[in-house]
Symmetry: D2
């Protein structure tokens, strides 16, 4: 990674620093370490994949809500880029990826939503209902940036024999890094126009909560093994 | 009025100052002046009363949305105080008041919503959808504070023969002043917790827009005469 | 209970019947049985009380959202009755009740939200965002009606020595039964005006999900013992 | 037009029939007739173009809200197709089109929102807040279908000398007809899954209101001449 995912001193970097314990518990979760070492039980990964299918649907809905809450064309296009990325690209990749792991589309569609999936996704959507665009994008940011950081970290250590090499390569890739970077940039930009400094304590609560819910999501996967 | 409706230097006072032309066009509208002079055509007033019935319903909905967007019990109670005031007290007073002016409840319920009524109310509700609690309460504040300022100003000049003396007395009264004051206080308080300084230009746009929509509402009444 | 909490054949009764396994897992949960037998560990009850404090705040927000989504004064007043009941009465009772169990208000305010509390409350709020008033009130109904059914069932068997007798009496009381009844009536009424029959399968999913989230809430309490 | 824009007997067709006076006042408005005859004052058209720029932004936001309210991937993709069409294609065409009429992008961005623009757009967004996906898509449908009907009708009579021939050709084209058709199909489909029959009277009110607001939008353009 020659270019950093976020700008030092920007609001995203400051939120990540302020919530470091929650951030580390998320990006350094046992699920992640086992995935990086190639020792994650297959059932845990499969359970995660199925729940992630449902997660992505609601994550796209939350970015659509961000598009609806935007007050300029630039903000709308930034938010809808994530909607399009998920609906038009990632969902297809995810379905294909799941097939490689023995999960067909019907199984995905019939998956019952797990408690952690429901909690995380509805928390973000409700944050979009009660807060403004900054609150919502802050709640959405740990997912994009955390996965990029995880992908990058695991790619540096993963061997070709790792059964999860393809997953790691996807989140370590330039394309995903660009998506993550644009989310961090949007957090920084909205922080300036929407009073991020004065709201920092409140935004940090949202950020830390989203990190905890990401960790719950990993735990939900591990618990299935 | 021994106590001011708002605190000098608070966010509400600064928004009012920054939007003075729009504020004056609202509180000093021809409708208001004719009402104060007792020369407002009766049809204009009756038309206004019927539209205000519909306005109050949506205004209460917007305060209910503010209650839903609140993130503390204190904020919820502050916002729901307005919902209760409207649903439990004002609507009853309004219906009784309209009866005195020859408009029965069935007529009120059958009133077709005017363009200015619809524009104003849906603007505020949509601001509650796209913004946060501060954006929404700023959009709601010109109504409460403007009516209190109008009531106070007209009461100082109105004679007992003015056919609109009862209306003036209601908005000049201590009870309404307390409601208005608590709205200004909430704008000030939210301004501090939600980055009001950094968002001032944007909030001023919302405030000025709400003032313009209040003026449109008066104009709608006058046009009926 | 001389008068039933709901009308046979009404939408609420049909949803309850259609979701009977989820309903039974909720109203007949181990937490409830131990509470009725007086054997529930004190820590479990205390943990439940603290989480219920946070639950009530968001439950009131959801009823405020219902008030905002209402399209008639009658609907608004019906929904806001629940907001007022919680903010103006129940929160005070709850704080006093918690004090009797050794939990002061500062502790309540400092309570970290549990996963089940967050999941349930945000699910309901998000249902209010994506659905209409019927979707939202259906999602809210298992709480009110289930507690009334539980209170009524446990009161019939509880002894005076039961340490939870006061809790049982509260939910077995006429006042709470009236609240629950009005929620069931509102589900029935909205079902008729908003196409409840054609939407039954979808509404039953929402109802069952809310029941499962109630059961998760009990489980969260038990897990603390 | 070899293929109809909507299916006879479908919910959209029935709403259009039930609201025929409002529909005719919209699609047969003086603005439309003068545009078809080539006699519309240039200032009226230019004013309309500038307001339509602002309209399109909020119209895209409303479709984004529809995407957020969707509960299946198919519904999300259907709604987001409109968001993408506007943000990625129509806005660019509109800006280029305005340039041909002597209105540069800076002028568009600096345009003050007219009363009819604000009223219509916020009405639709607020309908998305208080209603469900069916309420929202019904509120959005007169715009897409009405423009397609207008384009088709005017193309049949317009001469090459008509200064508005390019505008007419755009809305008479197959591409726009496909967009309109998919909106009608979505109204029909949602009508079946979300109880359209039982809610018909209420949906017709929304439909007629949206038609009236379209007519107000034309009137706003005419008034500028």
């Amino acid at each position: 990674m020659t270019r950093s995912l976020w700008h030092e001193g920007g609001l995203f970097a400051r939120l990540r620093n302020a919530c470091m314990p929650a951030w580390q518990a998320y990006v350094g979760h046992d699920f992640v370490r086992q995935l990086g070492a190639g020792t994650l039980p297959k059932q845990a990964f499969q359970h995660y994949l199925k729940q992630d299918y449902l997660f992505l649907i609601h994550y796209a809905r939350a970015w659509a809500l961000a598009t609806a809450k935007a007050t300029s064309l630039a903000e709308m296009r930034s938010a809808n880029a994530s909607v399009k990325a998920i609906l038009d690209v990632e969902m297809g990749l995810h379905v294909a990826f799941c097939r490689d792991w023995g999960i067909d589309e019907k199984t995905l569609e019939a998956t019952q939503e797990g408690e952690a999936t429901l909690g995380y996704t509805r928390y973000v959507l409700a944050r979009g209902l009660d807060g403004d665009l900054l609150d919502l994008v802050v709640a959405l940011s740990p997912c994009a940036l955390g996965y990029a950081e995880i992908g990058s970290a695991l790619a540096a250590q993963a061997t070709a024999e790792n059964p999860y090499a393809a997953w790691i390569a996807m989140y370590a890739g330039d394309e995903f890094a660009d998506v993550a970077r644009s989310v961090a940039d949007e957090v920084d930009r909205l922080g300036q126009t929407r009073g991020g400094d004065a709201r920092f304590a409140d935004l940090a609560k949202t950020f830390a909560q989203a990190c905890r819910l990401e960790a719950d999501f990993w735990r939900q996967g591990l618990a299935a093994a």
